[in-house]
């Protein structure tokens, strides 16, 4: 049963601390996406990768957020320093891209910054 996994599922941290969220995409998927869900904005695209190369990170606050894919089985989203306004649910999704645009989402990481 192939699925996207995300860790941690929940994270509570204090303002100013570094937060790292991890995602394992479905094996064989070549596109990986990071989204943030907030009440007001719904699902915001933060960044996405194809074949581990970043294609678009225009939705991400550059000064504090960074996204990487160290290898094909791991994607990371890092916030440093974290702020209370970063509190949200962060989703990772993966897909095959091209003619099959459907994305498969992980369960999300609920981040609370106090």
């Amino acid at each position: 049963d192939a699925r996207v996994t995300q860790t941690p599922r929940h994270k509570v941290t204090e303002m100013g601390q570094e937060v790292t969220m991890r995602c394992q995409p479905i094996l064989g998927h070549n596109t990986v996406f990071w989204y943030r869900q907030t009440m007001m904005q719904g699902l915001e695209l933060l960044a996405y990768f194809r074949n581990r190369a970043p294609l678009d990170d225009s939705g991400m606050p550059k000064d504090r957020f960074s996204a990487e894919m160290p290898d094909a089985t791991l994607a990371t989203l890092k916030i440093q320093p974290s702020e209370p306004r970063d509190s949200a649910v962060y989703f990772c999704a993966s897909g095959l891209g091209g003619a099959l645009p459907e994305q498969y989402f992980g369960p999300g990481t609920r981040l609370t910054v106090t």
Partner: protein
């Protein structure tokens, strides 16, 4: 800049009746549209999609309609079931990868 808009934050229907969820978009470059369903504490799951070359796509109880001239799409669920109660997200893509989501509509189907 909300390129995909779901103007109804919530919808309540009776079991067995039709649920109609609406979505509007502003970017004429979008050529692929999808609906996702999300239960609490889970990630969104893909439900149904439609390409811009079509105006209707049907899958069981779910049908998506696309009106390109109006930049509007809708999801019809017939008949609605209590298990359909979830948040539904509309999504659109200009290139089959970069996808923009609406804010979601919470559907409640009452027994």
């Amino acid at each position: 800049d909300q390129q995909v808009k779901q103007n109804s934050p919530s919808l309540s229907v009776q079991e067995g009746r039709i649920s109609i969820l609406n979505c509007d978009y502003t970017n004429s470059m979008f050529d692929y549209f999808l609906w996702y369903k999300k239960y609490p504490a889970e990630g969104p799951t893909f439900l149904i999609s439609i390409s811009s070359i079509k105006d209707k796509n049907e899958d069981g109880r779910f049908t998506v309609f696309l009106n390109k001239s109006a930049k509007h799409l809708s999801l019809h669920i017939v008949p609605s079931q209590p298990g359909d109660s979830a948040v539904y997200f509309c999504a659109a893509s200009p290139n089959n990868n970069d996808m923009r989501f609406g804010a979601g509509t919470r559907l409640t189907v009452k027994p």
